[in-house]
């Protein structure tokens, strides 16, 4: 029962109502351009933004709530958490501020409160508290055109494919978020290419946490292996010294 958001770029009119609704519900501060902003409209005070593209195309950018999120896998204290309902939420009380989540996110979503002496990571949480109560996120509720809708991921995928099938000339035959990095909980259908939302990557469809699995799995072997190699070397060398009547038989403590 994983929840998701489907955004239809062809329907968006760029009214920014989702942005204001988000700001209001999460009590995000005034929008001030800062020197550390990335130029996609997202900031610690803006969890979703509208990117204007040529010919009246408006693309909403927000956290994609990956099915296998990189941010969750890298956080050393587990401050990022993928809930069963779908949203990836952040626990500021655990966070130690290493910003690894910001580095690992393939969509470059998490933002930092660089101006604060006690800074936290800020990103869309898909209105987790509202979803738990059975309501829908503020942004989808605010959308006047139903360009961005909320529902079960499987249902939304069906809707997305139906829309593409019914209007094959209008849409590009692809649901963004269906397979990228193992699938995301924020889906897009569009008549323009949306690859600008992510960093370019070759192995696009594998979940990013899998990249580190091999290395992390070999950790115990490397640990014990190195110990074994060292002990083995030490044993051989000591034995050689003994047999050859080596210069000393002190136990690695010859500076006494």
């Amino acid at each position: 029962m994983s929840k998701a958001i489907l955004t239809d770029v062809t329907k968006c009119i760029g009214c920014l109502k989702c942005v204001s609704a988000c700001k209001e519900i999460h009590h995000l501060g005034a929008d001030v351009p800062r020197v550390w902003d990335k130029n996609d409209g997202l900031s610690a005070e803006n969890w979703t933004s509208i990117i204007a593209k040529p010919e009246n195309h408006y693309v909403r950018k927000q956290c994609r709530h990956c099915l296998e999120p990189a941010c969750v896998s890298v956080c050393p204290v587990g401050a990022m958490h993928k809930t069963e309902l779908g949203p990836v939420v952040y626990d500021s009380s655990k966070c130690l501020g290493c910003r690894y989540c910001m580095m690992a996110c393939p969509f470059g979503i998490p933002r930092y409160e660089w101006d604060k002496a006690v800074p936290h990571v800020e990103k869309c949480i898909m209105c987790y508290d509202r979803i738990e109560e059975g309501k829908q996120p503020a942004c989808t509720e605010a959308c006047p055109e139903n360009a961005t809708i909320f529902g079960d991921r499987s249902d939304l995928l069906k809707i997305a494919h139906t829309r593409i099938k019914e209007n094959p000339h209008k849409y590009i035959d692809r649901v963004w978020g269906e397979n990228e990095v193992g699938g995301t909980s924020v889906l897009y259908v569009s008549d323009i290419n949306l690859d600008f939302l992510t960093y370019p990557t070759k192995n696009f469809d594998t979940p990013l946490p899998e990249e580190t699995v091999a290395a992390l799995d070999s950790v115990p072997y490397a640990f014990l292996g190195m110990g074994g190699v060292m002990l083995g070397l030490n044993w051989i060398i000591r034995r050689r010294m003994k047999l050859g009547g080596g210069p000393n038989k002190k136990d690695g403590d010859s500076h006494e």
């Binding site: 896998s73 050393p76 290493c98 580095m103 930092y112 660089w114 800074p119 990249e211 580190t212 190195m226």
Partner: protein, 638 residues
């Protein structure tokens, strides 16, 4: 000249300067101290302090492996300094992390909140454990100073071999895991640096870097204390390093060739050039240098070679840690404050190293600077019988002074502006243009607001309205006769309807409306303190005379918060939003048929405003308070 004292003087200067910057970091946050941003959240501190720091401290485990495990007894003189360097190195890494982490007081959370899927979790634990191991490995040295601790020392000595073994095993893990950190960023890290065997590359290069660090540190400390250089021994280190560097190069190139990225080295881009330089400095040139037996035993070549490896591999860590990221170099260059902090941490670590070396039995001979050594009577210490009296290697007064002075210089160099810390560029608002329909574009970008002024007047003339804006304006109201003051809520002296931008002068940051300095300056109002503040009472904004006392012409159209202690008024953007949006929202609620009034896009337009198209010149500056009618101070009632 006393080399030791001069070096220490420099180090104290760096440390003092960094201490001042450190205050800035903890009081105002990362934004003002670093150039880090949302595009490049990891920068110089992670690259240099943490990643390069850990690799530089690899000398500890490499030397102990050579000495204790492979039993190359001739390296004995290097073991204690190498372990000390490693320990101080790891402490420096942790201190560096305390600066880089956003919430450094939560660093211990790694102990109680576990996420074993995170490479950083593994690195964190390894670093914690290894630092402890290093402390235990090294502590017999200070403990030997007194026979009182003999028992503890003997106890620790018994566990020396397993400790060393554990240290090597832990080092293997985290030296390589630092590379694992970046495996999850195949899209962000430039392909020349990204590799699935990054952990292996990191481990091999750490071994090389550790060896060269030990060599460099030996050369440096021998130069510092004018001791006989151990060229022979360092030469042996260089020989091992040649092999390690060779392996590193072969592994790296093979990997690039197998993944088909080798062509990228020569594609002429900025990053590929950086890669070539890095490989040349860190690997090829030093390996070639040390491959020649004669050069390897030449101390000048040793200096150059080891320094090159250190610079090159530190560069490698900084590149991987943020510089060679997509958009990394374009959006980020370290700020002077970042560099000052790193320099300060390194300086402090070296100072502690020198302190320990001078006071404990690290070397066979107690260090001194023979050229400046005064005649001292030898003192006999039971634990170190051969050592001479206190060497002339420190100067408390000079070094304290250096620290304090550079701390002061550091404080002076900080901007101290709150605005700076908020990351807001100070933009002076420029006036709106047009007559009946105003074009509001305070920062003159290509977005503006079309404001039908006449239409608004007409609307207010037919309505009687009152409005409350939370926290800003208690209430404003307009009657049908007086439509202007609804928006023009405040008049400057001598003016009837002051424009928005005359008081809300800054685009995005709040401004101090009351200009205290102007009132006190001789070229301004030239007032004395007692003209506004009551003598004998603490001078605060509350106890001072209110504006209207001197400015009878001031018209407070509304009860604004001007009388409150801080005379801060919202930025231009906030002021406009608060007034316009509040009214629009109220109107949307009242009149159902006008939903578009609540839309951002109903007022905000993109493109070149019509006035600009006509080639009209913007009049930029509206001099502030030009038309103030100053009251005659002497006649104002006291």
């Amino acid at each position: 000249m006393n080399r030791v004292k001069t070096t220490k003087l420099l180090l104290w200067l760096f440390a003092g300067f960094a201490a001042a910057v450190a205050l800035n970091r903890y009081i105002f946050g990362l934004g003002v101290t670093t150039n880090l941003n949302d595009q490049t959240p990891w920068g110089f501190w992670i690259g240099f302090d943490v990643m390069a720091g850990v690799a530089l401290a690899a000398g500890g485990f490499v030397t102990t492996a050579i000495f204790y495990m492979i039993k190359r007894e001739e390296f004995h003189p290097l073991v204690k300094p190498a372990v000390l360097t490693a320990f101080l190195g790891y402490v420096a890494v942790i201190v560096g992390l305390l600066f880089d982490l956003g919430l450094p007081w939560n660093i211990w959370h790694m102990i109680i909140y576990w996420n074993p899927h995170s490479p950083l979790f593994e690195v964190g634990w390894c670093v914690m454990l290894y630092t402890t191991v290093l402390l235990l490995e090294f502590s017999p040295v200070p403990l030997e100073e007194s026979s009182r601790y003999a028992k503890i020392r003997n106890f620790l000595m018994r566990f020396r071999f397993p400790l060393v073994l554990l240290g090597i095993m832990l080092s293997t893990l985290h030296q390589s895991s630092l590379g694992t950190l970046f495996l999850i960023m195949p899209a962000r890290l430039y392909p020349l640096w990204y590799s699935h065997i990054l952990p292996i590359e990191f481990f091999i290069s750490a071994v090389a870097l550790g060896l060269m660090m030990v060599a460099f540190e030996t050369l440096l400390s021998h130069w510092l204390y004018r001791r006989e250089p151990e060229t022979e021994l360092v030469g042996k280190l260089c020989k091992i390093a040649t092999w390690v560097l060779g392996t590193y190069f072969v592994v790296k190139m093979t990997d690039l060739a197998l993944t088909g990225k080798i062509g990228m080295i020569f594609n002429g881009s900025w990053l590929s050039d950086l890669f070539i330089v890095e490989i040349l400095i860190s690997t090829l040139i030093p390996a070639a240098l040390f491959a020649v037996g004669k050069l390897r035993r030449n101390s000048t070549a040793q200096w150059i070679g080891s320094a090159m490896v250190i610079v090159g591999l530190v560069m490698n860590r900084i590149d991987v840690g943020g510089f060679a990221m997509v958009g990394g170099a374009a959006s980020y260059t370290p700020s002077w404050m970042e560099i000052a902090i790193s320099l300060g941490i390194v300086s402090a670590a070296i100072l502690v190293f020198l302190l320990v070396v001078e006071h404990f039995h690290i070397w066979e001979i107690r260090p001194e600077d023979p050229q400046s050594l005064p005649e001292v009577s030898p003192s006999f210490d039971y634990s170190s019988r051969t050592w001479l009296g206190t060497p002339d290697v420190s100067s408390l007064a000079t070094h304290s002074l250096a620290f304090v002075l550079s701390f002061a210089v550091g404080m002076a160099a900080l901007s101290g502006k709150r605005l700076h810390a908020e990351g807001v560029d100070s933009i002076v608002v420029r006036p709106a243009t047009g007559v009946d329909t105003l074009c509001i574009n305070g920062n003159r970008d290509n977005q503006f607001v079309e404001f039908p002024h006449e239409a608004h007047i007409a609307w207010i003339k037919t309505h009687a309205v009152s409005l409350t804006i939370d926290g800003v304006i208690d209430s404003i109201s307009a009657t049908k006769e007086d439509s202007c003051t609804f928006c023009h809520h405040f008049n400057l002296p001598g003016e009837r309807l002051s424009n928005c931008w005359e008081c809300h002068t800054s685009m995005y940051s709040r401004v101090d409306f009351f200009r205290h300095d102007w009132h006190t300056s001789a070229r301004g109002a030239n007032l004395k303190c007692d003209d506004c503040h009551t003598p004998g009472v603490t001078r605060t904004a509350e106890s001072a005379k209110q504006c209207a006392a001197c400015h009878p012409a001031y018209k407070f159209a509304v009860n604004t918060n001007l009388a409150k202690p801080a005379f801060y008024i919202p930025s231009y953007v906030d002021a406009m939003h608060e007034l316009c949006v509040a009214c629009h929202k109220a109107e949307v609620k009242e009149v159902k048929g006008k939903p578009e009034l609540a839309l951002c896009t109903s007022c905000h337009k993109t493109g070149t405003p019509p006035e600009l198209r006509a080639g009209m010149k913007w009049k930029v500056s509206v001099p502030h308070y030009d038309n103030v009618v100053l009251p005659n101070v002497s006649t104002v009632e006291k």
